[in-house]
Point group: C2
Chain length 193, copies 2
DNA sequence: GGCAGCCCATAAGGTAGTTTAAGAAAGCGA
DNA sequence: TCGCTTTCTTAAACTACCTTATGGGCTGCC
């Protein structure tokens, strides 16, 4: 059963009745995505909440000069959604790309309303997820305005060691907001000391 | 009635019954705060959601070198809370300071649970508020990693013109993540062109 | 009314991070 | 297994932004 991981995830927040578990199985759809394929592209409206069962994704922006800036990664048991586009039903300015062959569970917005909007437990769960994401976003803003690139890299290594083996330095540099060349000099300096 | 502005705010999201309006009046407490006084200091646990009825606040971090970094401002009809501390009940690393003599409405965490946790309407409202805050946070992260200080300043002017008259350039510079001196050179350059 | 404290501007020298270019190593598709 | 694309590194020139210092104007306070 592919929703096993998702149910386990939900039950870390609040426990579910059997009826609620069935709702989850009914509302979420499984999908396989190949490496380098996109589940969201600029201009699309983001119509799904996506939960990663297996694999790895990145969400990024392409700026005026054509440069990519990674906003977020997601591996097993993470969510990845352009919430600005999802909630406002506006065209997204972001891309979500699979970095590995992946399996996901998706919840369409209509199905979120249909299945979960009247349910207090799921309202609490989705509120908790959003609060959690907001705490992380605030931490990252603080870090961006108060730390150097080296400090951010060290924090990234400590906080997400599981990403190190799966992501190239190009991807990590883009997430930290520096060029791969500069990340390379940071790494060199760290090994030296 | 001091909760008028707050009720109007809530009803922009979802309409409330009379009973729910009474709940709001019961749960929120009014408080006056003088300029330069704090409603949160580093080490405190953030125990309230704060809604600004009148006045102006800033939330900021002090880094290892003693420098202040503004994370957020709040004026009339804005919320200001250290959500990381509030939800995790951990000591905060932030300060929230009144920049003007102000009037606020505060909701204690226990009262949020007591009055609103079982109420579907308020769950939806608080979820919507959090989603909104998350969208803003994501936009700000994107901007921090993809824009220059000048671009961020221009966007700040466009997005929050009402802040211009009320905040010093020192406060704005700290929000943008640059020194006041550099903001001054940006402003000079803009006038010249 | 005068002093203290804050705010803004300007300038010179310094540092963090970028750009461009080039070469070697490693992974991927056919 | 070959060829191609991607990845990592190094280096030199460049730019965005910081630091420190100075001076002048404004505001609030006794």
């Amino acid at each position: 059963m592919t929703t096993t991981a998702l149910l386990a995830y939900f039950e870390r927040v609040l426990s579910l009745t059997e009826a609620e578990k069935s709702l989850v199985a009914e509302a979420f759809q499984e999908r396989k995505v190949k490496r380098r394929h996109f589940i969201l592209q600029k201009g699309d409206v983001c119509k799904h909440h996506t939960f990663v069962v297996a694999g790895c994704f990145r969400m990024y922006l392409v700026d005026d000069k054509g440069k990519e800036h990674n906003l977020q990664f997601a591996i097993e048991n993470w969510w990845i959604t352009d919430i600005a586009s999802f909630y406002a039903a506006e065209p997204s300015s972001l891309y979500i790309e699979a970095l590995e062959n992946s399996t996901i569970l998706q919840l369409r917005k209509e199905d979120q309303v249909k299945f979960f909007d009247d349910n207090l437990t799921f309202n609490r769960i989705f509120r908790a997820l959003t609060e959690n994401a907001l705490v992380n976003a605030h931490r990252r803003i603080l870090q961006n305005i108060s730390s150097t690139a080296e400090e951010r890299y060290l924090d990234f290594l400590k906080r997400y060691p599981q990403f190190l083996q799966r992501l190239s330095n190009v991807q990590i540099a883009s997430y930290l907001g520096v060029t791969p060349e500069f990340l390379s000099t940071i790494r060199k300096k760290m090994i030296g000391s």
